[in-house]
Subunit: 159 residues, 3 copies
């Protein structure tokens, strides 16, 4: 088997994450996060650029990340069903002196409704800290900075 | 010259495929397929998720793939001319124990009309089987799963 | 630290370029170009395909590249503020026998207005020549070929 570069491994981690969400496998989503160090926030680009830290949504522990998708798994939440597709581009990876990994990417999410009509759901980017333990990558911190904060379907599913 | 990883080779193969279509070089499109084992289908995501196999379009031999573009090469087909651009992201590559390669990617096709106005043409993904023979990659099977199945220009050109 | 492949290095160079523009750091934009050999042009795909060389915009020296963004740095130019995000995909890299690097990519630029509404700003591709000197990549020639030439905001910022 071919060995992958670190760049390829992080990109693959991002693509597996996107695929899990696109298939609606929300129960697997918390597995992408580090259980011991876990922070997931969505902020608008406007606030982020102004240094205003209040997130549109925030999960500050692994338990909160699990709670985030609990209602999606049980289908307790009612919302208009849409198909989503996450296009992850511009993946940038930097190794830190402390052994951690800083990474980021641009994110474009397209949605299609039941009639098959496509529209733009989300324009934004990821800014992440990852750990590599026992040869597995995990997210310690994921910041989703969204340019398109006027979202009509109100963050029903994770990004 | 630098050697490429398998991940890079498959990605490059995808990008060359997209470039060939974007330049309208339809006569070269069949060369991306394995002449001995060849299957090309387009299915809607809705049908695919429900396990319904009927494709919107299917080519089950290399000859059918050649036929698919014959009318485009001869300019026998009349349709409104559009510029297409294939954005291929989230490329994932897995080597199989039997020596084959499983791969996939997300696909976003943008179209621009003669007046230079852009719109979304296609949202979907590829699910492929590739072979590597005499150091050349070929598609044995390409499944194009499209989220946006309400296509106004009716699959005039390959995806 | 992990070594990067040439493919990864060029991709990273492109992503750093996009990030610099997306953050509005226009003063850093000329640093991506080779000061001794510098050519930056934007052409419509229609003209490019017909072999018509007249660009929508052209900078033929490093000084002209600096001039291009001077008014943006000083905020002398008044225009409606938009957020831009460059999605760079389909990165292809070829080493030339003379030591230069031919490379290209597809480019999708999304814009978001002050109200957070997203729309497509630009569909196109890059066709570049790069040099690698003292271990740093620089653009000797960047041709931006745009499919969507009916741009309402008139090329206010670089691509």
């Amino acid at each position: 088997m071919t060995t992958m570069t670190l760049q390829e491994r992080v990109a693959r981690f991002y693509f597996d994450y996107a695929d899990t969400l696109n298939r609606g496998k929300y129960a697997e989503w918390p597995d992408f996060f580090n259980p011991d160090e876990c922070d997931y926030r969505i902020v608008s680009r406007e606030n982020h650029d102004l240094g205003l830290p209040a997130p549109l949504m925030g999960c500050y522990t692994h338990g909160m990340v699990k709670d985030r998708v609990a209602m999606l798994i049980d289908e307790a939440l009612t919302y208009r069903h849409m198909y989503f597709r996450h296009y992850i581009t511009n993946v940038r990876v930097d190794e830190c002196p402390d052994g951690g990994i800083d990474a980021g990417a641009n994110l474009l999410v397209m949605q299609c409704d039941q009639e098959g009509s496509a529209s733009t759901y989300m324009v934004g980017r990821y800014e992440d800290k990852l750990s590599l333990r026992e040869d597995r990558l995990k997210l310690c911190k994921r910041l989703v900075i969204i340019d398109s904060f006027s979202i009509d379907t109100a963050l029903a599913v994770p990004l």
